[in-house]
C-alpha cells in the first residue's frame, strides 16, 4: 500500500500524471483517475477569468498526504496519488488529479470517489474566483457536503 501527494505550483498535466502512475504499478489491474478542470463559468453563469487557490505552506501539503493516506488505508488499493495545483489557474487548466490502483475495479472507483469527496471539503485550500464583475470566495457546495456525508467517517 502506497500513497503520495504533490502540491503543484506550476502546470498539471493529467495525461502525464496518469502515465507516470500506471508505469509505477506492480501488477494491479484497475486504475481509476479523476481530473478536475478549472471551470470557465461561475455557478451564477458569469465568466471566470481566473481561479486562485490560496494555500498554507505546511497545512496544505499535509492535508493532501493525510487524505491520500486515509484513502489508501480505507480501501483495498495498492497505490493512491493526488496532485493538486495551488496559485493562479486559468479556465480549462487542471486543478486536481487523483488516481487509485487496485486488483479490484470497484475498490479503485470507490477510493478515487472517496478521495475527491474529502478533498472538496477538507483539503486546505481557499478558492477565489474572479471575473469581469469582481471576485468571490468559493466554499464547498451543498452537493459537495452531501457527497462527503455518504461516507461513514
Amino acid at each position: 500500500m502506497a500513497a503520495s501527494a504533490n502540491l503543484e505550483l506550476g502546470h498539471l498535466d493529467a495525461g502525464q500524471e496518469l502515465a507516470r502512475f500506471v508505469a509505477g504499478l506492480d501488477g494491479d489491474g484497475a486504475v481509476v483517475s479523476f481530473t478536475g478542470l478549472a471551470r470557465a463559468k461561475a455557478s451564477n453563469g458569469q465568466a471566470v477569468s481566473c481561479l486562485r487557490l490560496d494555500w498554507h505552506p505546511e497545512m496544505t501539503p499535509r492535508s493532501l498526504i493525510e487524505l491520500a493516506l486515509a484513502t489508501a488505508a480505507r480501501f483495498d488499493v495498492s497505490d493512491v496519488r493526488v496532485v493538486h495545483r495551488a496559485g493562479s489557474i486559468a479556465p480549462g487548466e487542471a486543478i486536481v488529479f487523483v488516481a487509485a490502483a487496485s486488483a479490484h475495479r470497484r475498490q479503485a472507483f470507490l477510493a478515487a470517489d472517496y478521495l475527491m469527496d474529502r478533498l472538496k471539503t477538507e483539503a486546505m485550500f481557499w478558492k477565489h474566483e474572479s471575473g469581469p464583475s469582481g471576485g468571490c470566495w468559493i466554499e464547498p457546495t451543498e452537493q459537495d457536503r452531501a457527497d462527503r456525508a455518504r461516507w461513514s467517517d
Binding site: 490560496d54 505546511e58 470566495w137 464547498p140
Partner: protein
Amino acid sequence: MIRIDVSFYGEISDRLGRERAMVFAADDITVGEIRAELARQDEAAAILLKPQIRVAVDSRVVPDDAQVASGQSVVFFSIVSGG
C-alpha cells in the same frame, strides 16, 4: 510578555491582511482570547468570532481553549475547499 504571529487565510484575509504580530502582557493565553482581542482591536475582525472560522497553532487545528505559547504561530482560516 507573549509575542505571537497571527495569519489569516481565505475570505478573512481580504479584510485582515495576511499577517500581524501581536504582543500580550500575560504569561499564557488561549486561542479564544486571541480571537477576542483581535475583534476588540479591529472592527473588521469581528468576523473572527463566527464559529466557522477555525484556528491552527503551529499548523495543527485546535479548539478555542488551546493554550498558545510565545513564538508560536496562529492561523485563522475560513472554510476550506479543494478539488
